[in-house]
Symmetry: C2
Subunit: 416 residues, 2 copies
């Protein structure tokens, strides 16, 4: 254990004790000050980001990764605006969701309180540093941020700017901190600091999530891995199916709610697949089909079992023709990661069964899986998309960053 | 991995797929049938229990443990009545807690669904086998039950009776299963079966909980460890403080919501402690005090730092005199396990600050900590008391055994 990390975690724990009693206006003033500081101190952040980008190019990072890493005046303004919007949202803390009187006169209530200290473990996007800090703070939590080594200078610069602004606005030292040392062994230590950290949220690829789940003793909220399916039922509207399938695959293939496998009922496959195959081909999507799909789409290559399980996050789509609704459900049950699943159908009973039988964070009828997102669902800002069943499932807004406590008012009750 | 355990987990996983589509009346009929079977097949359960008790005596188990292990006609009827009461409770599954329309016409709703497969890991009480199975089933979950080796014959007998009754009532095979092999290494395997098990709930002593938290990759809900405090403020009603302190310690010392440390403000200590010391002495409670407490209670021995951290679960109480409200809060912050904490005071601001600043599942003003319990809080039956912050906190009723999923109704929406 490095002393530095332990010191940070202790300081966050101490800050959380104070943060939980801060008023909404104190927290909102801090968020506004953080936004303002990001606008005023752009230069030092962009200078740090430039160094990260240069190093990234030297190390041969791909263009997609470099794009995620890059900041600009415009992007920083966007991040600042996000913090301002957060300040304007209602504070989830202190809300009493119910209070009831027991026969012995005890009044038992349930109140929303902060989690305490949240550790975020993420990869190359430096915007997460400010976004996650803002969300955690708004919900009354301290946050320890551990981003990827590619973005370390940017993260430290953003962390410095926003934590100084938060302190000047009266929030405790240690409320926001960025882990300086990006050595991987530190992650293993961080996720076992049960005395100081209340929850770990990993946000990134399947490898990162697995490492955290395997090693953590602090409770984890898993996010993000999405092997998402769209099933085109025999009773689908053909044009709608075409548009939804193209959108779910092509609109932004690198994100977790993009479609990875298309399932098509055999009755509609001959009408849908030749056109869809051509359209996806034009969009440079590689197609990997079962043998029946390949017969209908000459450009498709034969899929292997691995294709059904794969989250491509790329311009690649697996396609399988199924003989029945049940076969589609069975395929999804076997391969789904429980993120987002969609059916396209005009059949009432098929829609109803799909909604009931598919076990995922978000289940759709007649819409693109790309909508699984906090803003799209109307939850405000989001800290990630939970693919686990405990605590939070699907897009996680502010409420997912809180817990509850029972408050009990008595006048001398004892138990008999 | 034993083949047997893997088979059980797979079978539970398959059963969960069917259970989640069972109607409330199917589940309730099964619960009623299980209760009826427990009444009708008492003899085979009591015979198995007798063998467990004989073995326990041979192995020299203490009387408290033997009492927990013992079943009787009366206790079995109590368990059966519990299942009947469960059948009468409302079904949490399928409740749509909200549905809203987005600007693009998408309708997004949030529906309560089962967790899937729950693994319960517990110790010597065979009643948990039926209670936990009933609660899990009512919430649409399959359950894998792994009780202690002392109770294995009783658990298998109860498991056989209730799972046969559930199957005859139309629930799937595998919905309820008891792990036969009580070898400890199997627990380590069970809590890593992420493909088949959705949540692990350990219920027992601190050692069991630690083992599960350390070894699990399946998400865990921690339960039960309670180092509970009562703080008698300077402005407390003396008679009320006396009654609450005695009740919280003596009424049932072996359970997690019993008081383990009493904190007393120095201004009221000379009035409270001599009387309280005498009363607790009469009740055979051993007292361990700070030096000031020992001056006021001659029978008390000097407490060590270990006493402040200890969950005695016995007729022992640690007592500390504090100079201020803040000192009391600091002590609780340092030693609390986040279970139940109480203040006795007539002072409005002290009560308000205590409720706000103490971080625990249940925080009390002027009542005994012994009330932290599902039935006492009016939640109906309870599967345990969560001392963690994720998912559920405090007494866990049926809702704690569910999760949510987003259901999204569209008419062709794609994302731009």
């Amino acid at each position: 254990m490095t002393e530095e990390l332990l010191k940070q975690a202790r300081s966050a724990h101490e800050a959380a004790r104070i943060l939980k009693t801060c008023s909404s206006s104190q927290k909102d003033q801090a968020l506004t000050a953080m936004a303002q500081a990001l606008r005023e101190r752009q230069e030092e952040i962009l200078a740090a980001n430039k160094l990260d980008l240069e190093q990234g190019k030297e190390q041969g990072l791909g263009s997609a990764l470099l794009d995620r890493l890059a900041l600009s005046e415009e992007r920083l303004c966007g991040i600042a605006t996000g913090l301002d919007e957060l300040a304007a949202l209602p504070d989830p803390i202190g809300e009493v969701s119910g209070m009831w009187k027991r026969p012995n006169g005890l009044e038992v209530g349930l109140v929303q309180v902060p989690l305490g200290v949240v550790a975020m473990i993420y990869e190359a996007r430096p915007n997460v540093t400010a976004d996650a800090a803002g969300l955690c703070l708004k919900a009354g939590n301290a946050v320890v941020l551990r981003g990827g080594s590619e973005a370390i200078r940017s993260n430290l610069a953003i962390g410095k700017v926003i934590s100084e602004a938060a302190c000047e606005a009266g929030l405790p030292q240690g409320a926001i901190s960025v882990v300086q040392n990006t050595d991987r062994s530190l992650v293993a230590e961080l996720i076992r600091l049960r005395d100081y950290i209340d929850v770990v949220i990993p946000r990134g690829g399947a490898g990162l999530i697995r490492t955290v789940v395997e090693g953590a003793t602090v409770p984890v909220i898993e996010t993000g891995v999405g092997n998402c399916h769209t099933y085109v039922d025999k009773d689908a509207d053909l044009k709608m199916a075409l548009e939804i399938a193209i959108n779910a695959k092509v609109q932004r293939p690198g994100v977790c709610n993009a479609m990875e496998t298309l399932l098509v009922h055999e009755e509609i496959a001959p009408k849908l697949l030749p056109t869809l195959g051509a359209e996806l081909g034009k969009a440079n999507v590689q197609l990997r089909g079962c043998s029946r799909a390949c017969q209908l789409i000459p450009a498709a290559s034969l899929a292997t079992d691995e294709d059904w399980a794969k989250e491509y996050l790329d311009y690649i789509l697996a396609i399988r023709v199924v003989s029945s609704f049940d076969e589609a459900i069975a395929h999804i049950t076997q391969y789904s990661t429980g993120h987002s699943e969609a059916i396209v159908t005009e059949n009432y009973s098929a829609a109803r069964r799909f909604l009931a039988e598919v076990d995922a964070a978000a289940v759709y009828v007649n819409a693109s899986t790309r909508f699984t997102d906090g803003a799209q669902f109307g939850l405000g800002a989001e800290i990630g998309i939970s693919t686990q069943k405990l605590h939070a499932r699907g897009p996680m807004g502010l409420t997912a960053l809180t817990t509850t406590k029972y408050i009990v008012y008595g006048n001398g009750q004892i138990r008999s």
